[in-house]
Amino acid sequence: MKKEKEAKVLTPAQERRKQFLDTFFATIPVRIGFGIIAVMIVCAVFAPLVAPYDPYTQDLTNMLQGMSGAHFFGTDALGRDLLSRIIYGARASLSVGLVSTLIAGSVGIALGLMAGYLGKWIDAVIMRVMDAMMSIPVVILALFIGSILGKGLGNIMLCIGIVMMPGYARMTRGQVLSVKQLDYVTAGKISGATRMKNAVKHILPNCIAPNLVLATMNLGTAILTEAGLSYLGMGINPPTASWGAMVSDGYRYLQEYPHIAIIPGIFIILTVWAFNVCGDALRDATDPRLRGTR
């Protein structure tokens, strides 16, 4: 007789985690998406180890080659290996996405907290400024700021970060307002906790989850925005590899050497899609209300 396996008993925390992971990885697209993100992160972090060639090495005798054994994706107009540039491009895209989201998130959440918690005219001022920023279309505001700060990786990160800030501010403020009403916050106030402590201890944790979801979705948007800016010529400087810039550079060769423009575009799509899909799954996994609406 088979020995019966003892049913595993999980602690509540482990139970919650299990449920979270189960919900998160429920569907196939999410698993693929997560896999893609994992691969991209590996590429970005370990680019020098993963890439077959140096992405900056030019070979003017080997320009515009198609896919081959030596160069998996072919070469570009300066004879640089496309695969290597794609891998390093992951670095640029992900770092722009990550840093700009961090900037937007941290400043945005801070502003949202202040606005929501402190209320009154601080709230009014901050929210109106955020509204004003949101009224200016993202691309236009990004072009604006980009032309002041100049081009280059760092400036683009800052620029996109500034542009995406209002979303987090609004989201956080909304969260703060709804949480503010809850009893335990009021209890905290009564018990004499300082405002700051109150905010951090009670309100902040509740704001994290929705902002995290927002961040995951925004990562995709940040990558797309950077690609668009590079396309318009306001983005990353050469020779740094950036997918958007590669598409842009490849446009003039589209007829004869389509791979130069098409392949980076595919990677943009895959990465942004992966983040969006995971963002959706994250939202479902963290928001009990939405369970069952997938």
Binding site: Q58, T61, L78, S147, G233, P239, S248, R252
Partner: protein
């Protein structure tokens, strides 16, 4: 690339202005003693004295392309976007001359060999001692509004140019109406380039219409002696011309109208040409455009062959500040040795760009064939750097527009420089920054646009002079070079002038490497479908064409 927008604007303002905004690459002959220019035509056609360029062209096209079909509208695509089309003193960029030539004309013009011929002037005389230029106007010419083109009109126009502060006319002291068809221009001081500057770069508007309609109207419309009249102007979008029924040459223009469409992106423009949505593409001298259109048998690339309007593009280091590594001539020379310029230019331009190593196009009179130049020698570069005290190299920036070639070249150059220890990071800039740097100086390496017509006194002067308009603030101004420049300007005969010019080339490039390394000569080229005949694109001068004699063979 959307960066094309930036690149185009950068290229437009620099390229065109460099194409002698104030003057032009003249035919080498100093016209100070000859009253009437010989016209040089291949056809056994017209007499030169009162012949205008147009009539010669008519003869040519009639002899050449077959039965001329009149009618139809020519569709032209370009990235050159003017903001004014009718008030000629405000049209400063050379790349806009293509528009001016539709509705306006100048006193003088050129022929295929680069000699000066008359257009609205039938005779002219340049008196070096008296510092005057006298023009005899062609009879019976009217503006599009019917009023006569006469000496008074010429005087008025020139005065408009002076009032607007145009550099072409800043050497003019006064304009005198001798009689109804004779004008004498008194110069402040004799300058051998003045004849062409005044003759070719001033376009004549009708004073009557101007007085009647005002400057605002004039900016967006036209009233000149040219074969067409502006019928619609949408800034940054399109310019439409219709036939001038009263054009002075009987039977011309052959076309009913011309439609210009402005493009913000040169790949889109090239696509439009390939798809047949435009008939002509002007200023297609970007190697990527040329490559894209290569092999298409029914699209013809028209190039200038007489050297007028040619410009060179190169890399220029900042040498003004003592703290700048490039202040030392040895470092500048090291720059020249450190890169395989030939390979970069040839490979990245797919062979379209012609290499030059000095302030002239190969084959021009001012091209010094004895120039030592710089071979590709990284070891020598390192040695020179060590001598100058930069054995460990240094950091710098190389600025670039975002056109494919420039960006690729900048990247390639940067890689070569890295091998000798110079760390040049590539920074892409837009038109605004580019102009700013050109006017006010920069720090590092930048692209050098130079009009290389065979007249160093005029063209190099605008960079070399301490108060030069271009790049002057970013470079040194060695006194011996300046002295040589002045000698060139004062030269009375051609042989002395050319001899001095050769000396200056050697000094500037071999000794000082002052302007860094020129890369290639870049004459504007224009593309047309084979059914577009008689357009004479770039034929007499790289920026001109002949709208009057153009016809569509389909």
């Amino acid at each position: 690339m959307r960066k094309k927008v930036i690149a185009i604007l950068l290229t437009v303002t620099m390229t065109a202005a460099m194409l002698a905004g104030c003057g032009n690459s003249g035919s080498s002959s100093d016209s100070s003693t000859e009253p009437v220019q010989e016209e040089n035509t291949e056809e056994p056609a017209t007499e030169e004295d009162s012949a205008t360029a147009e009539e010669a062209e008519t003869a040519e096209s009639e002899a050449g392309g077959g039965e001329i079909k009149t009618g139809g509208t020519l569709r032209v695509g370009t990235v050159q976007s003017p903001s004014v089309v009718g008030f000629t003193p405000e049209v400063t960029n050379n790349s806009f001359i293509q528009y001016l030539r539709c509705a306006y004309e100048s006193l003088l013009y050129y022929d295929e060999a680069g000699n000066i011929v008359g257009q609205l002037a039938s005779e002219w005389e340049a008196d070096a001692d008296a510092a005057t230029l006298t023009f005899k106007l062609v009879d019976g010419v009217n503006f599009a509004d019917g009023t006569p083109f006469n000496a008074e009109a010429v005087k008025w126009n020139i005065e408009q140019y002076i009032e607007t502060g145009r550099s072409e006319t800043n050497n003019i002291d006064s304009v005198e109406v001798v009689d109804d068809s004779t004008v004498t221009v008194k110069l402040k001081e004799w300058n051998s380039s003045s004849l062409e500057m005044i003759g070719f770069f001033i376009y004549y508007m009708s004073p009557t219409t101007f007085d009647e309609k005002g400057i605002e109207w004039m900016r967006a419309n036209s009233c000149g002696t040219g074969p067409f009249v502006v019928s619609g102007f949408d800034q940054g979008v399109s310019i439409k011309y219709t036939k001038n029924e009263n054009y002075r040459v009987e039977g011309q223009p052959y076309l009913d109208g011309i439609d210009y469409t402005i493009f913000g992106d040169s790949t889109t423009l090239t696509n439009a040409l390939k798809a047949g949505e435009v008939d002509v593409l002007t200023y297609g001298n970007d190697c990527d455009i040329m490559k894209d259109l290569e092999g298409i048998t029914n699209i013809i690339t028209e190039k200038n062959s007489n050297g007028l309007g040619v410009e060179s593009v190169g890399i220029i280091p900042s040498s003004a500040e003592e703290s700048d590594p490039f202040y030392d001539a040895k470092v500048r020379q090291a720059l020249c040795y450190a890169v395989d310029w030939d390979q970069i230019v040839t490979a990245l331009s797919y062979g379209y760009y012609e290499r030059t190593n000095q302030w002239a196009a190969p084959g021009a009179a001012t091209y010094n064939t004895d120039l030592k130049g710089y071979s590709y020698d990284p070891e020598k570069a390192k040695a020179l750097l060590a001598e100058a005290g930069y054995a460990d190299g240094f950091d710098t920036v190389i600025y670039s527009a975002s056109t494919g070639f420039q960006q690729n070249a900048a990247t390639a150059i940067s890689a070569s420089l890295a091998e000798v220890g110079i760390n040049a990071s590539v920074e892409i800039i837009d038109g605004a920054k580019g102009n700013d740097m050109m006017a006010n100086g920069w720090s590092g390496l930048y692209w050098h646009y130079a009009s290389v017509g065979p007249d160093l006194g005029l063209y190099m002067g605008r960079h070399l002079d301490v108060n030069g308009a271009y790049y002057a603030k970013g470079i040194q101004h060695p006194q011996d070079c300046l002295d040589l420049l002045n000698e060139i300007r004062a030269a009375k005969d051609e042989t002395t002038k050319v001899d001095l010019e050769w000396q200056l080339q050697e000094k500037i490039y071999d000794e000082y490497a002052l302007f860094g390394m020129p890369l290639y000569v870049n004459a504007p080229v224009h593309m047309r479908y084979d059914y577009v005949e008689g357009a004479q694109l770039a034929k007499v001068h790289a920026v001109t064409w002949s709208p009057a004699t153009t016809w569509l063979n389909k």
